[in-house]
Amino acid sequence: MPRINDVGGLDGFGPIDEELDEPPFHADWEAHVFAMNRALIGRGIYNLDEFRDAVERTMSHESGYYENWFRAIQTLVREKGHV
């Protein structure tokens, strides 16, 4: 499947929705995913480039931002044999 992460200039992604007074996280689990990723990178389990690569190759445009993060984190931790 082609990776279309460099979306600059592509058409067809619909309107830009601006949410007023948006909170940092929309649910507590998003905050947990964020913190988990920071901790794992901080410990050297994987690095930022590996994380971005994992997001790009496992992401779904149908999933939310932190859902894609969570999928990438799980993928990397498994690939590196930690779980």
Partner: protein
């Protein structure tokens, strides 16, 4: 990290996975709390507002900021350190002829230390794809209509380089204090999707 009571499937999956990581010693709860604390309490757009207000009242600070933001931020008690890897901040200045706007077409790179968490629209494929090809249209969607002869510069952030816009000081603000000026700045102004 403290437990929550969200019953959604994804919340349960995240809880389970976090428990596995803790059991394997890959993360610990206090470490997660600290990571979150740093993000939500220290990283807010009020930091960027302060930088802009100082630049508006102090021409020498402004010149240093535009020249080398990383070495100038400590003057107002801020820094680009503390992230996961070193990042160079570029502050780009709006003028009568040039308006700047920031995007990350590849993912969602953003100067969190100065602007706080990025809004969902900044991370959306809709914004990332369109602002580079039709910036004027995108800015109009945000309610910002620029004169036809204003040049729009779109800056594409990446893992090493982050951007913050220095908006133009609004007219009629000569009598305001630095703190009052900071209150006039908005998060979107620092991204470039608002004038100030």
């Amino acid at each position: 990290m403290s437990d929550d009571h969200d019953d959604s499937p994804i919340a349960a999956q995240v809880r389970e996975f976090e428990a596995v990581l803790e059991a394997r010693g890959l993360v610990d709860a206090s470490e997660l709390d600290r990571a979150l604390e740093a993000f939500t309490h220290r990283a807010t757009p009020a930091n960027g507002f302060r930088v802009v207000a100082r630049a508006w009242v102090d021409a020498e600070f402004r010149a240093r900021l535009l020249d080398d933001a990383n070495s100038t931020l400590p003057e107002v008690g801020l820094s680009m350190g503390g992230g996961l890897q070193p990042q160079v901040l570029h502050v780009v200045e709006n003028t009568a002829d040039v308006h700047n706007v920031v995007v990350c077409t590849l993912c969602s790179c953003y100067p969190i230390a100065l602007l706080g968490p990025s809004p969902t629209w900044y991370k959306s494929t809709a914004y990332r794809s369109k602002v580079v090809s039709h910036p004027r249209e995108v800015l109009e969607q945000f309610g910002l209509t620029l004169p036809d002869d204003t040049e729009i510069r779109v800056w594409d952030a990446n893992a090493e380089s982050r951007y913050m816009v220095l908006p133009r000081r609004p007219s009629g603000t000569d009598d305001l204090t630095e703190a009052e000026l900071a209150e006039r700045v908005t998060r979107n102004g620092l991204i470039g999707t608002a004038a100030v």
